[in-house]
């Protein structure tokens, strides 16, 4: 078969409409219809050649993971039930069910779309949905679940998989023959009816969709007075312009002090904390003095501050290539911003040169 080279006018016009339909699926906060979801999961298992599973629905992915770990360890269940499920849980069907949906599908599309059309479709569908879902919702959830629970991995994010599903489905709509399309269609059906899923031999754990998803005007997860993602059981993720942060910084604002902000270990969270409190408040509360200020904000300003219980410390307040302000603690013997820059990368000031490009 000849590769498809370009879209018709109608197809081009349909592209953004189609993308928005999928975006709606990906960002849906509607409660899952458990009957429809169960039917979709059974169809997905059948398409993958797997025996029909028992389907357990939960209100959040955190509950799914807790249930899986409890059953795997035999905790909270009768011993024999625990042992049985434990054995079944040994066989994670992820790879099996995913094979046709992952690499095989990609090859299939690559073989049938001209490179530039494939890239164009990806830009219009995949990349846009990627920014909204994969890079934001999925990444923040993955990060938070990993931090808080004994993480159970999954390939199946339900509607949040819209970025690659839309890409592949549009290709099919314009004439690409998808091999093992039953499997693909079954997964589309799953994605449109369900939240994240954890699939094992004989048993599937399925989460509801989130109840709340809040974003800023650049589509980054963000909420200043509550969780950015909240599930119906209360499992929540707090975000500041896309950065996951501790719940306390939002729910119990007085817990976030200038000292906490400036000494927080993770530099992105340190920046978020500094933005939440406000740089002026931090500099004022810590009695910041300028030791040296370079004309170039990307070299920065060397400050000395007084931190309760710790003492005097020096920080380089610097703008990064993405235009955000960071505070990097540097040794007390630093006297200029440029010297601090050199120290940060382990060079002497004479070996250090300002980068030609900084992104």
């Amino acid at each position: 078969m000849q590769k498809i080279e370009k879209l018709t006018k109608e197809q081009e016009e349909y592209l953004p409409v189609f993308r928005d339909e999928w975006l709606k699926v990906g960002l849906s906060t509607e409660a899952v219809d458990r009957d429809a979801s169960t039917a979709a999961i059974k169809r997905l298992y059948a398409a993958g050649g797997c025996a029909e599973p028992d389907v357990l629905h939960f209100e959040s992915p955190a509950q799914c993971i807790l249930a899986i770990n409890m059953l795997r360890n035999g905790e909270g269940s009768r011993a024999n039930l625990g042992a049985n499920l434990g054995a079944n849980l040994g066989a994670n069907l992820g790879a099996n069910l995913r094979d046709n949906l992952g690499a095989n599908l990609r090859d299939n599309l690559r073989d049938n779309l001209r490179d530039n059309l494939g890239a164009n479709l990806w830009d219009n569908l995949g990349a846009n949905l990627w920014d909204n879902l994969e890079a934001n919702l999925k990444a923040n959830l993955w990060d938070n679940l990993g931090d808080n629970l004994k993480y159970e991995s999954t390939y199946f994010w339900g509607g949040m998989d819209a970025n690659w599903l839309a890409w592949a489905e549009f290709a099919e709509k314009i004439g690409v023959q998808i091999e093992k399309h039953e499997h693909f269609h079954a997964y589309i059906d799953y994605a449109k009816t369900s939240g994240m899923g954890y699939f094992y031999e004989g048993i599937a754990f399925v989460s509801d969709r989130p109840e709340t998803i809040k974003k800023d005007d650049e589509t980054r997860l963000h909420c200043e007075n509550g969780p950015a993602i909240r599930y119906r059981d209360g499992y929540s993720v707090y975000c500041w312009h896309g950065q996951n942060i501790p719940a306390d910084w939002i729910e119990n604002k007085s817990s976030l002090t200038a000292q906490t902000a400036i000494t927080w270990e993770n530099v992105e969270q340190r920046r978020a904390a500094s933005e939440i409190l406000g740089w002026d408040v931090i500099l004022n509360e810590l009695n910041a003095r300028t030791i040296n200020k370079d004309v170039d904000p990307e070299v920065g300003e060397l400050l000395e501050v007084d931190i309760p219980d710790i003492g005097t410390e020096r920080f380089l307040r610097v703008r990064c290539g993405t235009n955000r302000q960071f505070a990097i603690p540097v040794p007390p013997e630093m006297n200029t911003a440029l010297q601090s820059q050199a120290w940060m990368v382990g060079l002497t000031p004479s070996d250090f040169q300002k980068p030609e490009v900084r992104t």
Partner: protein, 116 residues
């Protein structure tokens, strides 16, 4: 795409072109076809296509709190930052050898790598 001759920085990675390869380098295997040039604990790594470059890490004379990596770039390829928001723009590398110094910071207990 941004290019450079001798010095560049992408987030916490400071890059400089080098003429002579130092001793004490250990090769680092790629992950899924990518070299993780700067690892992020939240998955926002800085990566380069493994087919176009070799990644090594310096094991001797490394200043406290730092990681120093070496990239041997065989064909033009970009260093990319895997994050959907506030992304550090990709930087194109010409064939050659480069040192990548990952930023450190001070704590009263000692120096540590900047974590993101």
């Amino acid at each position: 795409m941004k290019t450079f001759k001798d010095f560049a920085a992408q987030g916490e990675a400071f890059i400089r072109r080098i003429d002579a390869r130092p001793d004490g380098l250990a090769e680092i295997a790629p992950t899924n076809g990518k070299h993780i040039v700067a690892h992020s604990e939240t998955g926002h790594h800085h990566v380069m296509d493994a087919g176009s470059a070799t990644l090594l890490e310096r094991t001797t004379d490394v200043p406290e709190g730092m990681n120093i990596l070496h990239l041997i770039v065989k064909e033009p390829t970009a260093l990319e930052h895997l994050r959907g928001h506030d992304t550090h723009e990709p930087i194109m590398f010409a064939p050659g050898e480069y040192e990548v110094r990952l930023q450190r910071e001070y704590t009263p207990e000692g120096y540590r790598r900047v974590a993101d």
